[in-house]
Amino acid sequence: MSESKKGFYIDMKLAQVYILMQMYGETFEIRTALRNGTLFPELYRPFPPQTFQE
């Protein structure tokens, strides 16, 4: 790839990020939320992946 003297790549675009706005939908039952660390199912993303079990 070729660089210009102005300091960017002529034939490629730099990365752009975008963040989706969260929407208000279903929420966990509050005791479950406390254990999961979030009230919002869409933000519950444990690693390694697992589902919460009471």
């Binding site: 706005m21 969260q22 208000y24 929420t27 509050i30 005791r31 939320a33 406390l34 979030t38 009230l39």
Partner: protein, 86 residues
Amino acid sequence: MSHHNKDMVDKLKNIMAVDFAVWELSLFLDTHPDERRAIEDHNKYVRLSYQLKNEYESTYGPMRLDSISPYPYKYINSPWPWEIEY
């Protein structure tokens, strides 16, 4: 102080869960101040939090520094968080 009755621990857990929900909803509302359903849920849990704390305190004594205390001062008689087996 390691043995506390199930009712007390259960009430404490409920209060923690409700307060966590209030906290989560307040964070959501920071970026979504016009989300009416989130505000309604937030207010619902705030009311529930006050209600549950009043119920807890009427049975088990003051749990906050700004709680009304009977004589003698009772706050110190509450079990410390690390003494409770959840």
